[in-house]
């Protein structure tokens, strides 16, 4: 807050970097972004892996391969299957898993998710979810189960566009979604991941809205960690075409600008993007990446049949080993474990006897 009681959230600086009239070359932004990333995060990239638990969905998002009107076969992992998938991921070396579902359905509701989190928390130090907006009480149950982070993209901050693209279902409620990260943090989640699905509305306006959203949360929840992603629409069942083009140069500019304006937040790049783009962006703002991802339900176990198509097509299909080799050849260390369950246990009040009691 300044002397006149105004809060400068820094979005002006971001707008200047993103302006088409900006005199700053992409190269100069890249250099600043790299320097800031290097200072704050060193030569390391944290790794995580997504696990789709279920593709049942009650919503009809125009851009999604799992929308309720798609012909895709529906599946939900049984607890045994979940266990096996988790073991397979653990074998691959991962220590952070992101559990995903569609919008709330009787097949994949909060209780189901909490049970899966519990299973995951037995093997993984860090377990986070990307599911549907929940109440504070529901988020608390997940914290108790061992979940420490929630990813929830608003997809688009453009209300009109949001209403049109979310054709039916609970996801149509813009505000319920917008306010969910706040409820998650109130419930004791330690990290929140925000993002926009690039291609649904004017990318610069989306970036500014995303920036304001995270800044506002940062001020209120000063203990929370934040990560941001910039997914671009990928081919999916449904054949939805992006309404706004976001080419590599624009995406890179967005990422560089966010790193410059938010030097400390985690910036994530998934396997939606091509291998060459990901390799180039590692360390230029990006600090966290997934690899070997499947967007089908399960599918990591050896010999698992890939049933139906995924939520979208993955672009970087390299193995964990190949990807780590590529990172290392650029002098970046892939970090699998960057967190310890000991902190989570205290949070969930599951500690046995702690001498401070």
């Amino acid at each position: 807050m300044n002397a006149s009681g105004e809060i400068d959230d820094g979005s002006k600086a971001l707008a200047e970097l993103l302006s088409f009239q900006s005199l700053l070359s992409l190269e100069s932004l890249a250099q600043r972004a790299q320097a800031l990333t290097l200072r704050r995060f060193g030569r390391t990239i944290s790794l995580y892996v997504p696990l789709y638990l279920s593709n049942f969905c009650s919503s009809g998002c125009a851009y999604c391969g799992f929308a309720a009107d798609r012909k895709t076969p529906r599946k939900r992992l049984t607890f045994e299957e979940t266990q096996n998938e988790l073991s397979a991921l653990k074998q691959m070396g991962f220590d952070e898993v992101l559990l995903l579902t569609g919008e709330r359905t009787p097949q994949a509701d909060c209780d189901y998710l909490a049970s899966c989190v519990k299973l995951a928390a037995k093997v993984f130090h860090r377990v986070t979810i990307e599911a549907f907006p929940m109440s504070v009480e529901e988020y608390k149950a997940l914290v108790q189960a061992g979940c420490t982070g929630v990813t929830l993209y608003q997809e688009t901050y453009d209300r009109a566009q949001y209403d049109q693209l979310h054709r039916w279902g609970p996801k149509k409620d813009y505000d319920a979604r917008l306010e969910a990260p706040e409820r998650a943090l109130e419930a004791g989640m330690r990290t929140v991941g925000l993002g926009v699905l690039l291609g649904l509305s004017d990318p610069v306006a989306e970036a500014l809205a995303l920036f304001r959203h995270v800044r506002q949360l940062e001020r209120k929840f000063w203990r929370a960690g934040f990560s941001l992603s910039f997914p671009r629409i990928r081919p999916q069942a449904g054949g939805f075409q992006p309404l706004f083009e976001v080419d590599d140069r624009l995406l890179a500019r967005l990422i560089f600008a966010f790193r410059i304006c938010l030097p400390d937040v985690e910036l994530v790049l998934s396997t939606r993007e091509r291998a060459s783009f990901r390799d180039g962006m590692a360390g230029l703002g990006i600090t966290k990446m997934s690899i070997a991802s499947r967007t089908t339900v399960g599918g990591y176990q050896a010999g698992a049949a890939m049933e139906g198509s995924g939520q979208f097509e993955v672009s970087d299909e390299r193995s964990v080993e190949e990807f780590c080799r590529a990172l290392r050849s650029r002098r970046y260390e892939p970090v699998f474990k960057n967190w310890d369950a000991v902190y989570r246990e205290v949070e969930a009040q599951k500690v046995e006897v702690c001498p401070c009691d």
């Binding site: 290097l38 200072r39 704050r40 995060f41 060193g42 030569r43 390391t44 653990k90 070396g93 220590d95 130090h125 330690r190 990290t191 940062e218 000063w222 203990r223 929370a224 960690g225 934040f226 400390d264 937040v265 290392r328 002098r331 970046y332 260390e333 892939p334 970090v335 699998f336 474990k337 960057n338 967190w339 310890d340 000991v342 902190y343 246990e345 205290v346 949070e347 500690v351 702690c354 001498p355 401070c356």
Partner: protein, 256 residues
Amino acid sequence: MGTLKIGAYEFSSRLILGTGKFSDVDTMLSALRASGTQLVTVALRRFNRERAEDDLLGPLAALNGITLMPNTSGAMNAREAVKAALIARELCGSLFIKVEIHPNPQHLMPDPIETYEAAKILVKEGFLVMPYIPADPVLAKRLEELGCASVMPLGSAIGSGQGLATAGMLRIIIQESLIPVIVDAGLRSPSEACAAMEMGCSAVLVNSAIAAAVDPSAMAKAFAHAVDAGLQAQRAGLMPKGDVAVATSPLTSFLS
């Protein structure tokens, strides 16, 4: 030239290294060797007992002549830090614990209140407690009174490379402290490490500035030299600053 004494330990090197941000384990190990360091900090969150390739504890524990100081980075409050310290001690057997509590994972500023609470417990638990703190002279004395083995005030924010932004406060802490004062965080260049030592610090801790250098080993060596130079300068007694000299015998004794 004199050693750094902490508890029953003595170190001839005054350069403490962090291990978190290197491009790979080999680069880290050669930087440690080049620095001549004898005390190294490692985060519990980077212990990985399930994947040797991702584990920092294994390769560090195998080094000769280096004492490990686990740290609690990732802890947001005293309870978490205490639990982490107990587990770290179990896993690596070191009596040292660097208490790092930063509730805000973005700027990573240490929480003075939680750090104080954690130190109180950990001192009783028999640890050599090395708290990472804001450069606050009162807090430093309070931690000393608790029985901490040293205080580790920040030069500037972690990974900011802003050097000794807190120099004024550091001077007060050094003047008043009965335990070693170790500047931790924010140093970017060897000259800043040298300045910290000239000022009277007992040691400095460096991570980013070495790990993110173009040639980490060469930079580690440069820091080692700078720390030595600063210590020697401090011992040698710097020429006075400004226009007032401090005389060794009173200038007005002839008047009496």
